[in-house]
Amino acid sequence: MSKPRSKVFFVLEDLEVEVPHGTKLSEVVEASGADITFGCKSGTCGTCRVRVVDGNRNLSAPTPEERDFLSSLGAADDERLGCQFCVLGDVSIDYIGS
């Protein structure tokens, strides 16, 4: 029984990756070599900040750390921390970096 699959599109480098539903973005990046950098991986450094160009609804909800980090920065609604979410449907992602 295979899980439903989602498409992740990395805008910066025009890279399209297909992944099982529920895969962490960090795993997608590691497996595909996408050009996104991770720092602390605990939601406190912001190195992996991305902009969700499309499909914001298709991501797992922010963890409290991610929510607090982004709100302390006054980040826009379409910004997320790449180390903190899973892909639950098709998304397009652009790298902001910190």
Binding site: E13, A31, S32, G33, D35, T37, S42, T44, G74
Partner: protein
């Protein structure tokens, strides 16, 4: 424009003041003849009379340079200074004369120009008791009279070093204006030294709280430092001060060059930096101080047009202040604790000390309260047959420089209050006013509060007496509000209403409902006057009861009052119990008393009196676990991390159980719960460490009773950080968790070669070996260690842990080279779990579970394999002719650094704290993650544990100088070479101009390049040598010194596990903070700071132009390159060296290359 008043002009535009006066005067090389005699040598104020043409010329030059206003030559023109020349009788007329000179020049210009009366600090410090209040007041009053009579447009109390002096000078100015029937603005400029405080120690927050109350029109800074050093303080003022802000820096930090004072900033640099501050925060008045010239003012005039008048939404959180610090009146969590023991009527010890004139002991009592957590100190020295005014003065003289919390002056005598306000440099609270004898007396006291700048406590008492019911209390509160806020114009926050507390301990029917009435009135007051503060003299409620029931009743009264909105309480902070620690039974009867729930058959007061009648009743009997069995108490001591009482409980348990049973069945059961709560995200690491401290304390008490010493050990592990790695926090956390969960730990320390680890195993034996390490390189070492052990025939279980490891690497690659089992421990508790299994014959079970998991993931091998790259698009970046990323734009103007080579920086810990990323510290380094807690629960953890810990440690670190920040930074000419290399040139070898004669390469750095994506390499951000352009590379190095590790380890050795963990995390994060600070300096030097983010939070997320790359991170993983970098920096000057594995020592050190290229960000290779 022409007739615009000074105040109106300030609304419309940025105003320009003049620059230095003194240096301009001395440029005339005044002789004895110029001063008019040897006895007047150096009295520049006299030159107003003797050489007016000099002064005129100076003013004229500044006006011509573009100044809107000049300062009179009256800096030292007061009685105290002039008396040194025997000229004290000339104060008035010299001031008049000086204003007239400036006025004449001002009026010779066609447009409107203003004259500001300069008022310097004089030569004596009031707060350090070098001069008395009346003398200094008289000295300034006369000067103010002269300046006003001469026609100054404003007086400027400048170069202020002592808040006490500012308060006197401002008061003198107001009274002189009143006498002259003329009102002009009063401006205040303080001088903040490189230490981050004014000369006598006040920080900028304390200064604002104190000065704001003086009704001044401008607050600002001048002298001592240059614009860069003033920047953080001005940022605070601009964000907080409800009045205009001025900035008159020196032309940089003065340097000593060949015995001459030299100011490094030329006019353009000076103006650029002032402009930077102005643009970022919004200054109203610009000018210069020492080392500045008309040219500097001209440079400011040139940029002034680009600066619009600042529109600031300054948010001032009203505060009170001591000489040193401020405390917000709206501090959360409530309430503000007002210490009650410096009160002759409340504390016997204090009264006894007072009666023998022992002021030093009185000061000690004050300091104790500050230590115990009081935010404010109530000071009352009224005692029959003593001279209260004298006692107050004598006490305050000693007190104000020795405590750092603000004062509440507690007296009913007007002259005593006035004397106290004269002796307290900060903003005080006066306690108190009421309407008992009508309005005459409260008005007198309010006049004093206004004159000296104080908040006021107001009691709900009127001509009819003390208000007992809620309605009466509210009626009087309304009358107080009308008088204090509406008529006197106090800010509502500066009115603190005390709705009175009466005792419930007497049992008199009249007072039985009094707590209910008081509590209700607090709710109503909060509703009706949300900005007005409330206060209770808490301990009155329990008057007449024994000490222990008093403590319970006070604590419950406080709890309910705070629930209803109480903002302050006068109490003994050390005697307040958390409500959770009051047993439910006690809480029930005490609340019945509090809420007057008396019935025919049950009288709560009687119940309390009988429950506490036993003279032997110990205090502890009333805490939460009072009636619970000792097993429960012990377990809860562990879970709650209460190490103070656990020893007593352990001894109590010994009456019933043998020591080993206590440890194994009770204490370890508690630790098990701790582990489970940590694992499920309900408990954070710092609390776990406190539990471990309790465990340690209990075992220490029990150990002497255990016959066979290690009979209770579940097993033994050898722990070591591997060769070449200096990181020991992770390993030490494992030791804490294991050793306090019944395991014996042989902790070998850091940088351990496998030979010595094996040797320990041979000689002492163990059930497992644990290897730890933070670095990527350490993972390789661990594998080599396993190979070594395999080659020598070992098969003892090995547990690996460390940040760079992955489960996959351990269970596949490491296991493959070793015969015995190799396990991965992702944290200390998984290490504990592994040890439990290993030491109870569960190895096979662990391996079976591992196999199963592997099969399962192989079965659904989908997870990894099924991440499929569908398309790698055409956007793939091409490499240019040099082999560098085509994504990187070239041809930026190369900034000119202010110097070449390396310089040493000097910063105080306070400045470093200013750059602390507290989010990363609390959440990541200290492990306060929300986990499974609700938002409210987590907020509570942050407010009650995390943030207070930070405050406490900050205070401790600064006070004890527990860290020694040191830094080097600088600039080198550099180019990229080939595709991936940066070469650094000796700055002296570069010959600018067409024919580059020689470039001597002194360092080379090679970096990896991304395989995908933008194909970046750090070298891409530095101009290529083929372009002929020589670029600039920044370098920096910061350290917290060896003392950082020493302090942390002292706590570790002392079994203060949580303190160890906090200190380690804080010092590590402060190292980052210092790197951030130096990086900000570098951007400023390179002139790219214009793109710095306004908020600190954003700045910490690379909210700036360029990037700072440290070796060991993804874009530049090669730690060995620290060797050439440290050589370039001359790292040994600040005690930084490199270990054989290229790690910097001390541990709290970080180095970086700084690149200014706008596209340079972090990236992975």
């Amino acid at each position: 424009m022409k007739n615009l008043s000074l105040s109106a002009a300030l609304q419309e535009r940025v105003l320009l003041l003049d620059g230095a006066m003194g240096t301009q005067i001395f440029a005339n090389s005044p002789t004895i003849e110029d001063y008019g005699g040897i006895e007047f040598d150096g009295c520049v104020e006299l030159l107003n009379e003797r050489r007016p043409e000099w002064i005129k010329k100076i003013h004229e030059n500044y006006f011509r340079a573009g100044a809107d206003a000049v300062e009179t030559n009256t800096f030292g023109c007061n009685e105290i200074v002039l008396a040194e020349f025997g000229l004290e009788h000339r104060v008035f007329d010299l001031n008049v004369q000086a204003v007239k000179i400036a006025r004449e020049v001002a009026e010779s210009f066609g447009e409107k120009k203003w004259v500001i009366g300069s008022v310097g600090p004089g030569t004596k410090l009031l707060t350090l008791l070098q001069v008395d209040y009346p003398t200094m007041y008289r000295s300034y009053y006369e000067q103010m009279r002269g300046l006003i009579a001469g026609g100054a447009d404003a007086v400027l109390i400048e170069t202020a070093q002592d808040l006490g002096q500012v308060k006197i000078a401002a008061r003198a100015a107001r009274n002189a204006m009143k006498a002259a029937g003329k009102k002009i603005p009063v401006w205040v400029q303080m001088t903040i030294e490189t230490t981050g405080t004014m000369l006598v120690g006040s920080d900028v927050q304390a200064a604002l709280a104190s000065i704001e109350m003086l009704g001044v029109d401008v607050i600002g800074m001048n002298c001592a430092t240059g614009p860069d050093e003033m920047r953080p303080h001005l940022a605070y003022l601009c964000e907080s001060a409800p009045m205009a802000v001025s900035c008159l820096p020196n032309a940089g930090l003065p340097e000593n060059r060949n015995g001459q004072t030299y100011y490094p900033l030329g006019p353009a640099q000076f103006a650029e930096r002032v402009q930077g501050i102005s643009k970022d925060f919004g200054l109203n008045i610009l000018g210069g101080c020492c080392g500045t010239t008309p040219e500097h003012i001209r440079a400011l005039a040139d940029i002034r047009g680009r600066l619009n008048p600042p529109v600031r939404a300054a948010r001032y959180e009203r505060s009170v202040s001591s000489l040193y610090n401020s405390v917000s009146l709206s501090l959360e969590p409530r309430p503000l604790y007002v210490g009650e023991r410096t009160n002759a009527n409340g504390s016997k010890a204090f009264r006894d000390a007072l009666s023998r004139d022992d002021f030093e002991t009185m000061v000690e009592i004050a300091k104790e309260q500050s230590k115990e957590g009081a935010h404010i100190l109530d000071v009352c020295v009224a005692y029959v047959s003593r001279d209260e005014k004298r006692d107050m003065c004598e006490f305050l003289k000693r007190l104000v420089t020795q405590v750092n919390i603000p004062l509440m002056i507690d007296s009913t005598e007007v002259p005593v209050i006035e004397a106290a306000l004269q002796h307290a440099p900060g903003k005080c609270i006066v306690n108190s006013i009421n309407f008992e004898d009508g309005e005459e007396k409260p008005r007198k006291i309010l006049d004093l509060c206004r004159e000296y700048g104080a908040a006021v406590v107001a009691l709900t008492i009127d001509e009819k007496g003390m208000a007992k019911t809620c309605d009466e209390k509210i009626q009087i509160a309304e009358r107080l509000y009308r008088l204090v806020v509406e008529e006197y114009g106090f800010a509502p926050e500066d009115l603190i209403i005390d709705p009175l507390t009466f005792t419930l301990g007497s049992g008199e029917a009249e007072w039985r409902n009094s707590a209910v009435e008081t509590l209700n009135s607090i709710s109503v007051l909060r509703e009706r006057y949300p900005r007005v503060k409330t206060i209770l003299g808490l301990s009155n409620v329990s008057f007449g009861l024994k000490p222990w029931p008093r403590q319970i009743l006070n604590s419950l009264m406080l709890y309910h009052a705070v629930e209803r909105g109480l903002t302050m309480a006068i109490l003994n902070a050390s005697k307040i119990l958390p409500v959770a620690r009051i047993s439910p039974e006690h809480r029930k009867i005490f609340e019945a008393l509090l809420f007057n729930q008396r019935t025919e058959i049950a009288d709560p007061l009687k119940e309390i009196l009988s429950a506490f009648s036993d003279p032997n009743a110990k205090q502890m009997q009333a805490v939460n676990d009072d009636n619970s069995p000792v097993e429960e108490k012990l377990k809860n001591d562990i879970i709650d991390g209460r190490k103070n009482q656990i020893a007593a409980h352990a001894l109590e348990a010994l009456k019933t159980y043998p020591p080993l049973t206590i440890i194994n069945d009770i204490l370890l059961d508690g630790m098990k719960t701790v582990g489970e709560r940590f694992g499920s995200g309900q408990m954070q690491l710092p609390f776990v460490l406190e539990s471990a401290e309790s465990m340690k304390a209990a075992v220490k008490v029990l150990e002497p009773f255990i016959e066979k010493k290690d009979g209770y050990r579940k097993g033994r592990i050898i722990l070591a950080t591997v060769k070449g790695d200096v990181h020991d926090i992770g390993k030490n956390l494992v030791e804490i968790i294991l050793s306090n969960n019944g395991f014996e730990v042989l902790n070998l320390g850091i940088k351990q070669p496998i030979e010595s680890i094996v040797e320990t195993y041979r000689s002492q034996g163990a059930d497992a070996i644990g290897l730890s390490g933070l670095l990527v390189k350490s993972t390789v070492i661990m594998k080599e260690n396993l190979e070594y052990m395999a080659a020598h025939g070992f098969d003892i279980p090995v547990i690996l842990g460390g940040a760079a490891l992955t489960r996959d690497f351990v269970e596949r690659e490491c296991q493959a080279v070793y015969k015995g089992p190799v396990f991965y421990a992702e944290d200390a508790f998984s290490g504990l779990h592994l040890m439990e299994k290993i030491c109870s014959g569960g190895i096979a079970e662990l391996l079976a579970a591992r196999r199963q998991a592997a099969e399962k993931s192989a079965g659904s091998a989908e997870s990894r394999d099924k991440i499929v790259v569908v398309r790698r698009g055409d956007k793939k970046v091409d490499l240019d002719a040099q082999g560098q990323s085509g994504w990187v734009r070239r041809g930026h103007t190369v900034p000119q650094p202010p110097f070449w080579g390396v310089r040493k920086a000097e910063h105080s810990l306070t400045e470093v704290f200013d750059y602390l990323d507290d989010f990363a510290l609390l959440r990541s380094r200290w492990g306060f993650a929300q986990g499974q807690l609700t938002d409210a629960e987590f907020e509570k953890v942050l407010n009650e544990k995390a943030r207070p810990t930070l405050e406490r440690l900050k205070e401790r670190v600064i006070r004890e100088k527990a860290l020694h920040p040191a830094a080097l930074y600088g600039y080198f000419p550099a180019c990229s070479r080939g595709s991936n290399e940066i070469v650094v040139y000796d700055p002296h070898s570069i010959r600018t101009g067409a024919g580059v004669t020689s470039r001597e390469v002194i360092a080379r750095f090679e970096f990896p390049r991304q395989a995908n994506g933008r194909q970046l390499c750090i070298a891409d951000f530095i101009a290529h040598e083929a372009t002929g352009i020589v670029d600039v590379l920044g370098v920096q190095l910061v350290t917290m010194g060896h003392v950082a590790s020493e302090k942390a380890h002292a706590a570790y050795s002392d079994n203060q596990f949580s303190e160890y963990f906090f200190m380690h995390g804080l010092s590590t994060e402060l190292t980052e903070a210092y790197a951030e600070l130096i990086h900000a300096q570098v951007r400023m030097d390179l002139g790219i700071h214009g793109r710095d983010a306004a908020s600190r939070r954003a700045l910490f997320s690379q909210g700036y132009q360029g990037s700072r790359y440290s070796f060991g991170y993804p874009a530049c993983p090669d730690m060995e390159l620290n060797a050439p970098l440290l050589k370039l920096l001359g790292a040994e000057q600040i005690g930084v060296t490199l270990s054989e594995s290229f790690q910097m020592v001390p541990e709290q050190t970080t180095s970086a290359l700084v690149v200014y290229h706008p596209q340079a960000r972090y990236f992975s290779t």
